[in-house]
Assembly symmetry: C2
Homo-oligomer: 116 residues x 2
């Protein structure tokens, strides 16, 4: 914020103005970063991937991924708070599944990028 010298000398002001106009609001961009942050953890990605196939209970997920139950529970909470998974209680068990198709498509899109 110290650099007071360069007053858009390098590019045309019009370009800069256009960019500013077309940028989503600050808050949207913040929310978007928050969303990606959720995907940015391998434990959470693994959980989501596991749920691609089937709804699973906490204990199964933990064993499947070889992660402690506590860790899974904490991460499931994060995923649930951010509406990426939903859950259904059945007796002592809680079954989790993906909240919607966007979750799949975002992950697949990311995977495409990795695989090229």
């Amino acid at each position: 914020m110290e650099n007071e010298k360069c007053e858009y000398l390098c590019v045309h002001e019009d370009t800069v103005k256009k960019v500013i106009n077309d940028m989503p609001e600050e808050e949207k961009l913040y929310d978007l970063a928050e969303l990606f942050k959720i995907f940015g953890d391998s434990t959470r990605i693994k959980i989501l991937y596991a749920l691609f196939e089937a709804e699973l209970c906490v204990c199964d997920i933990a064993q499947l991924l070889n992660v402690s139950q506590t860790a899974v529970s904490h991460q499931l909470r994060v995923l649930k708070t951010n509406k990426l998974v939903k859950c259904r209680k059945e007796g002592k068990n809680v079954f989790y599944s993906l909240a919607d198709d966007h979750v799949c498509s975002i992950i697949n899109q990311g995977m495409d990028h990795i695989n090229e």
Copy 2:
């Protein structure tokens, strides 16, 4: 990892086996998380969004987003290392642009999720 009691009691073993079979390798999942981690920062998202429109030099990006030149430079390095942006030198200036279309589509997909 302490929970030795629950041995896949809750769901059928077949489901669990199917899930295990269809899971990508550990390393792929890790890379995927790493990719999303890059998008999981509002400064970087802002930079990428700014580059949707046009190629821009470091100083312009900094002013545009009201972030210090140093911070932008650091983040551009992260983006470049991870092949999300590319750069072109021209005299004193370095112009950055998006590396490929995947970047756009991943971000747009995320934005769709936000906007519903």
